[in-house]
């Protein structure tokens, strides 16, 4: 069996160094294999973006100081690695696309300048030809002219494709995507996801795909990790998690998404709201909102492996034996 590309163990991120400081992430562990796309799905405040930023050690100094655990990139711990070495990994081996392309691009530099900067770092020689090729790869029409354009002259969808071209300029092995399609219109999101799939295949990349949208996860991910209040509550292959969600949170969240296929009389709801950082309950963080909760749930839930690769942290897995057969 191949080794994981990225292996995170017991990653805890606190707001500051003190042991009783509120935690944003609480003992998160996950593995990402080469070429695999893992979806991190959760509501706002679940810690999914902090997890993505931690992988490149891009969190703020307060959070970096409060970070414990291990993030092994091809065996080396990113958390303890010297800055020199980390600089070589950022962009070259691990790259990132964020939600708002206007915040990622420099508004006063042309697209060509920004793209060529990344290509130069990647050791490319004929920069203008390479930049043109990079723009063609992300389906930008008349790339030669577009190189002279500025970010404000482009649509949101086009900007996000430029950002991907820059992110891929150094041929990374892992692309971290943090809600890259949230700001895009539905028809543009659809096309961007198709593009990402093509790029993933062409570059043999792994992806860590952060989103709140189960529809996006279903479209692009191989595996999914569901996050709630700073923890991964359930993880498994996408087909398995969607067909047989076993954590009460995953199950209830999937059920509450409206569908174009049918209109129920009322949507099943999860009462209450996710807890804020610093106000998370003891034991299983979901228990105050959980329909299946019992007195046990005030204790940290056990980790169960239901089937190979499908694990959850829960006292009361929602199994339906008749569906398993």
């Amino acid at each position: 069996m191949t080794d994981p590309l990225l292996s995170i163990r017991d990653l805890t991120v606190r707001v500051g160094k003190r042991a009783d400081a509120p935690s944003i992430l609480d003992k998160v562990s996950l593995d990402l294999m080469p070429g695999e796309t893992l979806g991190l799905v959760g509501e706002s405040g679940s810690g999914k973006s902090t997890l993505g930023m931690s992988v490149l050690r891009l969190t703020s100094p307060t959070l970096t100081a409060g970070t414990t655990g291990r993030i092994a990139w091809k065996g080396d711990d990113i958390l303890t690695m010297p800055n020199r070495k980390l600089r070589h990994i950022r962009g070259e081996e691990i790259s990132m696309i964020l939600q708002d392309p206007m915040a990622s691009l420099n508004p006063v530099q042309s697209i060509g300048t920004q793209l060529q900067e990344a290509l130069r770092r990647g050791g490319k020689r004929n920069l203008s030809a390479a930049a043109e090729a990079a723009l063609s790869e992300v389906n930008i029409p008349s790339p030669a002219e577009r190189l002279r354009a500025f970010p404000h002259q482009m649509s949101g969808g086009m900007r996000q494709r430029i950002v991907s071209a820059i992110g891929l300029a150094q041929d990374p092995e892992l692309l971290i995507c943090d809600e890259p399609t949230t700001a895009l219109d539905a028809t543009i999101q659809y096309q961007f996801l198709e593009l990402l799939k093509a790029l993933r295949a062409a570059h043999h990349m792994a992806m860590l795909f952060i989103t709140h949208d189960f529809g996006v996860v279903a479209r692009i991910c191989d595996r999914v990790a569901v996050m709630y209040a700073g923890r991964i509550v359930e993880t498994g292959p996408v087909a398995e998690i969607f067909a047989r969600p076993a954590h009460p949170y995953t199950k209830a969240l999937l059920a509450s998404v409206p569908s174009t296929g049918h209109a129920p009389h009322r949507l099943p709801v999860i009462e209450g709201a996710p807890p804020a950082v610093g106000h998370r309950p003891e034991g299983c963080p979901f228990h105050p909102r959980c329909a299946a909760a019992s007195a046990h749930c005030r204790q940290a839930p056990p980790r169960t492996e239901l089937r190979p690769g499908h694990t959850l942290n829960c006292w009361h897995p929602q199994e339906h034996p008749h569906e398993i057969a």
Binding site: D185, F214, A218, A243, P258, T260, R266, V269
Partner: protein
């Protein structure tokens, strides 16, 4: 193409009068409503010839992507902006002709709920005052009646009475949106104008808010106009759907039919882009293509022809009229009463 739509009634065209409102007196309706903005380089037609009606007890969905004119429509319906052609009618009378008392009645009957409850609630007012202000402004209720009404509407949206003494900053996004809905309900409106009311909410909160709105529709017979970019939400909330592209209605029909058997290629593309939370969903036959053209310089003929997989010569040349079919209305050269050509 041999004019396949000869047998169809073509609505609206310059010769025919605008379509009358559907059965039942409309609370709010638009007649060939248009709004053009003067911009550098000419006129920007944000909205053109939109005819629709909100009747008691019904829920109408308006669907389209950014730049299609959803917000302009909402502003015109709220009389926050004046149309450059056509009219918005309140109970049969154009908004511009309403007398002062009639205008007050309109303001009471038509209430908005906006997308972002962080900007739609005053941070300095306690919830009681946020909800009571429109009531005290009318001058028709006593202090005690107003206090009772505040508690009543808070309970209708699932909040307790003690919420009234707190500030918006003490609440989460979902609770704030409930407060915004409570404020809209306070004056006993007949129609709620909901502009993307759940788009900024988390998934688990969206379902809560949508259920509250559905309760209000059913329990109080409240009419709603639901503006959204998301077909799935509209399917849940609405009886009828109007799909808008670049300021024009391209299709309209019952929500269930629009979301399963769309006529217009743009509706089909929107449906394909509403990604189902199901990895086993079959691939779509009509994937969305291309980008939204500039509304300043819209394509000739059918504005969708630049992105349409089924476009023909006629689509580039002639703008298709919105025609009646047994399934609703559609503006497409390729669709006839019988179906696809």
């Amino acid at each position: 193409m041999k004019s396949p739509d000869r047998a169809l009634r073509v609505v609206p065209s310059p010769e025919t009068p605008p379509r009358a409102a559907p059965a039942g007196p409309a609370i709010l309706e638009t007649r060939r409503l248009g709004r053009a903005f003067k911009v550098r380089g000419g006129l920007l037609h944000a909205l053109s010839e939109v005819t629709l009606a909100c009747t008691p007890g019904t829920s109408l969905g308006i669907v389209g992507e950014s730049g299609c004119g959803k917000t302009t429509l909402n502003r015109l319906l709220l009389a926050l902006d004046q149309p450059t052609s056509g009219a918005v009618m309140f109970k049969g009378k154009p908004l511009s002709d309403l007398s002062r008392p009639e205008l007050r009645a309109y303001r009471r009957a038509v209430q908005p709920v906006f997308q972002n409850p962080y900007s739609s609630l005053s941070p300095r007012m306690k919830v009681r005052r946020i909800i009571a202000e429109p009531l005290s402004a009318s001058g028709e209720m006593t202090r005690a009646e107003i206090d009772a009404r505040v508690i009543e509407v808070l309970e209708q949206v699932g909040l307790s009475a003690d919420v009234a003494e707190r500030l918006p900053s003490e609440f989460s996004g979902g609770q704030r949106q409930r407060i915004a809905i409570a404020r809209a309900l306070a004056s006993r409106p007949e129609l709620l104008l909901l502009d993307e009311p759940v788009s900024s909410q988390d998934i688990s909160i969206q379902a809560q808010i949508l259920n509250i709105l559905k309760d209000l529709q059913e329990d109080y017979g409240l009419a709603t106009l639901f503006v959204s970019h998301d077909l799935a939400t509209v399917r849940f909330m609405c009886d009828e759907v109007v799909v808008i592209y670049l300021g024009r209605v391209v299709e309209r029909g019952p929500a269930a039919r629009i979301c399963t058997r769309p006529d217009h290629p743009y509706t089909a593309a929107l449906l394909a882009a509403a990604l189902p939370a199901d990895p086993a969903a079959p691939p779509t036959a009509t994937p969305p293509m291309g980008e939204l053209p500039s509304p300043l310089n819209p394509p000739s003929g059918c504005a969708y022809h630049t992105r349409c997989p089924f476009a023909q010569e006629v689509c580039k040349r002639d703008r298709p009229a919105l025609k009646e079919t047994p399934r609703g209305q559609v503006a497409c050269h390729r669709v006839t009463a019988e179906g696809w050509t």
